[in-house]
């Protein structure tokens, strides 16, 4: 036990003496939290909208006016021809083109229905989907009004029975994107910092030759690893604390669940990350190699964590892979506890899986650290 204290003391001294690393550990992640939470948004806004009005009637103008009134569409361009609209889309000057055909108003009054052409730039499939929904909603609303305006005198038999859905958004009533992103970004920064620090730590001692000096002492492997991990565990918990304060003060993210529960989960989660870091450290000879491997896993873990894209929409094999992704569990737990107010029993499955993961990774880390080659 006393031996561990000497290692912890030494590690802390080295961390706080490293003037180059301190800002990286404490300032960069928080900048990341503030910047990413504001910038990394999936809300589709400022859609560049164009239209080709071949009809030039009050109805067609009223339809365009609907788009004009919407806050999502902002640049309105009137294209004289389809060809010009197409070339504008090719140049990226317009995202959505609405093609109003000739005799739109006349046919609508005569035949009671008409089709419209909508072209959407779908390079970003997700954005295109959202744009499609917006366009459809606006046209439907327009349709409702038309029914009122055009068919006032129509008899009750043909009066359409409209079924309206009123969506209720639970847990994030205002669909505030930041509420959704902040807990996730917080997860990222806690993970990245602790993974990189632990991943580079033992390999650094290998590089400077001090590990060999440690290996000729009678220190126990577990003592050495616990002594090495503990300081980074403390840093991880510290980052979580600072991150939560920022989430509350700057972003006003609701914190419905219990804070101790978040800390309990995070304390186990960090052990997983540190275990992975040390495991990487033991299998590499230079900090450069360790960094590359750590990056490789971080990128996969982040992209498959459900942070940016829902896991439910991944192919089945990918969904199975995400079971091995610790970040996935952390993102789930943070969102559940912060936004839904989930309790201990709700996060128990994630908690147990994470605990098992921690035991395995740290077991591997201790096993793969060899004092004798």
């Amino acid at each position: 036990m006393k031996t561990i204290l000497y290692i912890i003391q030494k590690e802390f001294k080295q961390i706080f003496r490293n003037k180059g690393m301190l800002p990286i550990i404490f300032v960069l992640p928080l900048l990341q939290l503030v910047i990413l939470s504001n910038a990394a948004t999936f809300e589709v806004k400022n859609i560049k909208f164009g239209y080709i009005d071949n009809d030039h009637t009050s109805t067609s103008r009223a339809l365009v006016e609907q788009f004009n009134a919407s806050t999502y569409f902002n640049v309105l361009t009137d294209f004289p021809s389809v060809a010009l609209a197409s070339s504008a889309m090719l140049k990226g000057e317009v995202d959505v083109v609405l093609d109003i055909p000739q005799y739109f108003e006349r046919d609508l009054q005569k035949e009671k229905h008409h089709s419209l052409g909508v072209t959407i730039n779908a390079i970003d499939g997700a954005a295109a989907g959202v744009e499609n929904v917006y366009v459809t909603q606006i046209i439907q609303r327009f349709n409702q009004q038309l029914k009122v305006d055009l068919f006032q005198i129509s008899d009750k038999q043909v009066h359409p029975i409209s079924i309206e859905t009123i969506p209720l958004f639970w847990y994030n009533e205002t669909l505030n994107y930041k509420t959704f992103m902040v807990p996730g970004i917080l997860v990222l920064l806690v993970t990245m910092i602790t993974l990189f620090l632990s991943g580079m730590n033992i390999v650094r001692e290998k590089e400077i030759g001090t590990l060999e000096q440690i290996n000729v002492t009678p220190i126990k492997k577990s003592q050495f690893i616990i002594g090495k991990l503990f300081p980074f565990w403390v840093i991880g918990m510290g980052l979580l604390t600072i991150g939560l304060i920022i989430a509350k003060i700057i972003f006003d993210v609701p914190m419905l669940g219990s804070l101790p529960l978040m800390y309990l989960y995070t304390s186990i989660y960090i052990l997983v990350v540190l275990g992975i870091g040390l495991f990487i450290s033991n299998f590499t000879d230079t900090q450069q190699q360790a960094m590359f491997i750590a990056w490789f896993f971080t990128v996969i873990f982040i992209l498959m964590s459900g942070l940016f894209t829902p896991i439910e929409s991944m192919p089945e094999w990918a969904q199975i892979l995400t079971e091995f992704n610790p970040i996935k569990y952390f993102v789930e737990v943070m969102r559940m506890v912060m936004l839904k107010g989930s309790g201990f029993m709700d996060i128990l499955p994630q908690l147990l899986k994470t605990l098992l993961y921690a035991v395995i990774m740290n077991g591997l880390a201790v096993w793969s650290y060899k004092k004798t080659n």
Binding site: L5, I214, V216
Partner: protein, 242 residues
């Protein structure tokens, strides 16, 4: 087993794939002896030493260090030996005193003992003025002396020194050997590799390794007689050139 033999090696071999780095070496070192382990660069000195200090597993052969077997009791060996590597291996970003405290701590010394040791050691090396300075800022010669003293902090039975005076000026080398003598006089066995042949003269006995094999082993005086050489340098050249 003779209690006076603190290192007993028999047919110790280390292979890396097809390459035999250490080829069936056999020797014994007595308690309190200064044993010089000579050889050209790449002769296998460091590899042999790493097997003796328990950080490298031998391919075959027997070795017993400080009464413990290198295969089964490597961790017990580590309690009884000190080691100073070729590469400076204290922490540059810790102070002199912090380095001593850290290594004292992981060898399990009590706080009181660490304090006494630190003070004695700093005084002996004349490092009072830099005791609270970062080790990285010290000149190489001072670092080497500090590193030697730290390897003795837990009063080991044997201390292994791997080219301890590499890159150090002649005056510091002389001072370094005075430290080695001091330790030997206290009963510590010193196992030292070097390729400075004048240093070989300071050893009680020397072995000369060529291409993984021990080609000669005796006192410097007898070796000079045996090879009809003026000094150890000539002995070494005769052997190394084959």
């Amino acid at each position: 087993m003779n209690n006076n033999k603190v290192i007993q090696v028999e047919g110790l071999t280390k292979m890396f794939g097809d390459f035999t780095a250490v080829n069936a070496i056999t020797f014994e070192v007595e308690k309190g002896e200064i044993f010089g382990f000579l050889g050209a660069n790449g002769a296998g000195k460091t590899t042999a030493m790493k097997m003796l200090i328990g950080i490298s597993k031998p391919t075959s052969g027997k070795a017993n260090v400080a009464g413990f077997d290198v295969y089964s009791n490597a961790e017990d060996i580590k309690k009884n030996i000190g080691y100073m590597s070729q590469k400076f291996a204290l922490y540059d970003d810790l102070t002199v005193r912090e380095n001593i405290t850290f290594f004292g701590g992981i060898y399990g010394l009590s706080r009181k003992r660490i304090k006494e040791k630190s003070n004695a050691l700093i005084e002996e090396l004349g490092l009072e003025n830099v005791a609270n300075k970062l080790v990285g800022a010290l000149p190489l010669g001072w670092k080497q002396k500090l590193s030697f003293s730290v390897s003795l902090i837990h009063d080991p039975k044997i201390v292994f020194l791997d080219e301890p005076t590499g890159g150090v000026d002649p005056i510091t080398r002389r001072q370094f050997w005075e430290l080695i003598y001091k330790a030997a006089n206290k009963g510590t066995t010193v196992f030292v590799t070097t390729h400075y042949m004048d240093e070989a003269e300071y050893c009680d006995r020397v072995s000369i390794m060529v291409n993984g094999k021990i080609e000669a082993l005796d006192t410097p005086k007898k070796l000079k007689e045996q090879f009809k050489a003026e000094n150890m340098n000539d002995v070494f050249l005769k052997l190394a050139r084959g």
